[in-house]
C-alpha cells in the first residue's frame, strides 16, 4: 500500500513538472476533455436532477410540517453545492472516466505500447498522463458546476410538484439565494478539482502498473475505481475540515 501511495505521489509530482508542456499536448487535452464531457454529461444531468429531487422529497415534508418550509431551498442548495454534487459527480467520473483511463493505459502497458513509446524517447507521462490529468481537472469542476445547477432545478421542481411540500419555484430559489453564497459553490468546485486529481492520478497509476493479460487489466480497473472512491470519501472529510477553517 505504501509503495502505491509513494508511486502515486511521484506520478502526481512528475505530471506537475510536465505542466509547461500542456500547450504542446493541447490536442490530446481537448480530445480527452471532449471524451469526458461526452461520456458523462447526460449521466451528470440525470444523477444530479434526481439527487436534488430526492433531497427535497426526503426533507421537504418534514420541514414543511415543522413550519420550516422556507428552509427547503437553502437546504437543497447548500447540500448540492458543498457536498452532494462534488462527491457524487467525482464517484460517477471515477466509474465512468477513471475506469476507461485505467483500461486504456493498462492495455497499452500490457501490449507493450508504452515500452514502444519509451524506445522512441517519448515520455509516457507527457504523452498519456498529462493530457488526461489536465482534461479531468478542467472537466470535473465544470461538470460539478453544471450538476449543482441541475440539482437545484430538480429540488425546485420536486418541491413544487409534491403536494406535501408545494413550494413555488420562485420562493424556493429566493430562499436558496438567501442561504447559498458564492463561496459555497466555490467550495464545491474546489473540492471537485481535488477529486479530479485523485481520480486522474489513481486511474493513470493503476494503468501504468498493470501486469498480465486481460485479467490484469480487469483487476487494475477494479482497483482504480475502488481506490478512487475510498480516497474521494476520505479526502472529502479532510477538505471539508480544511475549508471550514478557511471559511470561518
Amino acid at each position: 500500500m505504501f509503495q502505491n501511495i509513494g508511486e502515486m505521489v511521484l506520478l502526481a509530482w512528475r505530471t506537475l513538472l510536465a505542466l509547461p508542456l500542456t500547450w504542446r499536448q493541447r490536442q490530446k487535452v481537448f480530445d480527452q476533455f471532449f471524451e469526458i464531457g461526452n461520456a458523462s454529461l447526460l449521466m451528470v444531468c440525470v444523477l444530479s436532477f434526481f439527487i436534488g429531487g430526492v433531497l427535497a422529497l426526503q426533507t421537504g415534508p418534514v420541514l414543511v410540517e415543522s413550519g420550516l418550509a422556507s428552509t427547503v431551498g437553502g437546504l437543497v442548495g447548500i447540500s448540492m453545492a458543498k457536498e452532494l454534487a462534488p462527491v457524487m459527480m467525482a464517484i460517477l467520473i471515477a466509474g465512468r472516466v477513471g475506469s476507461a483511463m485505467t483500461a486504456e493505459i493498462g492495455s497499452m502497458q500490457v501490449y507493450q505500447e508504452i515500452d514502444a513509446l519509451r524506445t522512441m524517447n517519448i515520455n509516457p507521462i507527457h504523452y498519456l498522463v498529462l493530457p488526461r490529468m489536465v482534461a479531468i481537472a478542467l472537466a470535473l469542476p465544470m461538470l460539478v458546476l453544471f450538476a449543482i445547477l441541475v440539482g437545484w432545478l430538480g429540488g425546485a421542481l420536486v418541491s413544487f410538484a409534491n403536494e406535501r411540500i408545494y413550494i413555488p419555484i420562485a420562493v424556493f430559489f429566493a430562499n436558496l439565494r438567501s442561504v447559498v453564497e458564492l463561496d459555497d459553490v466555490a467550495n464545491g468546485v474546489f473540492k471537485s478539482f481535488c477529486f479530479a486529481l485523485i481520480v486522474g492520478v489513481v486511474s493513470c497509476h493503476q494503468g501504468l502498473v498493470t501486469i498480465g493479460g486481460p485479467r490484469g487489466i480487469g483487476r487494475s480497473v477494479t482497483k482504480a475505481v475502488v481506490n478512487s472512491i475510498v480516497l474521494i470519501v476520505i479526502f472529502d472529510y479532510i477538505l471539508t475540515n480544511v475549508l471550514m477553517v478557511f471559511n470561518s
Binding site: 492495455s107 507493450q112 505500447e113 513509446l117 519509451r118 524506445t119 522512441m120 517519448i122
Partner: protein, 256 residues
C-alpha cells in the same frame, strides 16, 4: 536529423557480464558478446532462454543487476549516449499504438519530438512505408492489418528514427513462412541501404541462418556459442546440436 534514407552507419554494442534476476529467478547469468558496427547479429535460443530480457536491457527498458552494456564504448545508461545514438526496437507484437492510424504510428517519433513540419512528416511516412512494401496504408488502423503487415509497419516506425541500432524481438514469430521470408529480406535490405547495426532475437533457425553475419546461441541465461552461421553449425555441444537439428518426430521422443 536528416530525413534521408542513408546516413552514418551503425554502432558497436558490447555486453559485459550481464546478470538479471526477477525475484529469485535468475534470467541472465552473465552474458558477454560484442556486435560490430553494421553487423546483423542474431541471438538464437529456445523460448524462455532470456533473449527478450536481454534485448530490453540493450534498449534501456531494463536495468541490469550486474554488468554493463556499451554502445560504441560508452555505457548505455549515460544520458548523453541515449541522446547521441538512436536505437529502435521492433517488438514481437509490433506494439503499434492501436488508437493511432498506421501513418500516425510511423510518424509518431517525428511528430512528438516536433522534428519536422506535418507535410514533411507525411512525406517521410509514405517513404518509409514504401520501403517496407506498405505504400498507401497510412490511413488504416492497426487492427485492419495482418500480423506480418503490423511487423513491417513496426519496422517502418523504427526506420523513421533513422537508428544507429535496430533490435528485432522475434520478428518472424506468428508469421507464415512467406511473410517470415519477407521480414528477413527487409532486415537484409536495411543493412545494405543504411548500414545499420541489427540485433535480432529469434528462435527461428531459418531466419537466423538466413540473415546473420554472426549468431550467438543462448540457453538458460548463458551464451553457449558465438560465431558465423557456419561456425555455429559445426559446434559439437549437444544442447546446440539438439536445438539446431530438432525436427518433428513421429515417435514423440523429442524432449525439451
Amino acid at each position: 536529423m536528416s530525413a534521408g534514407a542513408n546516413h552514418q552507419g551503425g554502432v558497436a554494442v558490447e555486453v559485459r557480464g550481464l546478470r538479471k534476476s526477477f525475484g529469485r529467478h535468475e534470467v541472465l547469468k552473465g552474458i558477454d558478446f560484442l556486435v560490430e558496427p553494421g553487423e546483423v547479429f542474431v541471438i538464437m535460443g529456445p523460448s524462455g532462454s532470456g533473449k527478450s530480457v536481454l534485448l530490453k536491457h540493450i534498449v534501456g527498458l531494463e536495468r541490469p543487476d550486474e554488468g554493463e552494456i556499451l554502445i560504441s564504448g560508452e555505457p548505455i545508461h549515460a544520458p548523453e549516449v541515449m541522446a547521441r545514438y538512436r536505437m529502435a526496437l521492433v517488438f514481437q507484437s509490433g506494439a503499434l499504438l492501436n488508437s493511432l492510424t498506421v501513418g500516425e504510428n510511423v510518424g509518431l517519433y517525428l511528430s512528438e519530438h516536433r522534428l519536422k513540419p506535418p507535410a514533411e512528416i507525411s512525406r517521410i511516412v509514405s517513404e518509409k512505408l514504401e520501403v517496407v512494401g506498405l505504400k498507401g496504408t497510412e490511413r488504416k488502423m492497426p487492427n485492419e492489418l495482418s500480423g506480418g503487415m503490423k511487423k513491417r509497419v513496426a519496422i517502418a516506425r523504427a526506420l523513421v528514427i533513422e537508428p544507429h541500432l535496430i533490435l528485432y524481438d522475434e520478428p518472424t514469430s506468428e508469421l507464415d513462412p512467406l511473410s517470415a521470408v519477407v521480414i528477413g529480406e527487409e532486415i537484409l535490405k536495411l543493412k545494405e541501404r543504411i548500414h545499420v547495426t541489427s540485433l535480432v532475437v529469434s528462435h527461428d533457425r531459418d531466419l537466423a541462418f538466413g540473415v546473420a553475419d554472426r549468431i550467438a546461441v543462448i540457453d538458460d541465461g548463458r551464451i553457449l556459442a558465438v560465431g558465423t552461421p557456419d561456425e555455429v553449425r559445426q559446434r559439437p555441444e549437444p544442447i546446440i546440436r539438439k536445438f539446431l537439428t530438432a525436427d518433428f518426430n513421429p515417435n514423440h521422443k523429442t524432449r525439451l
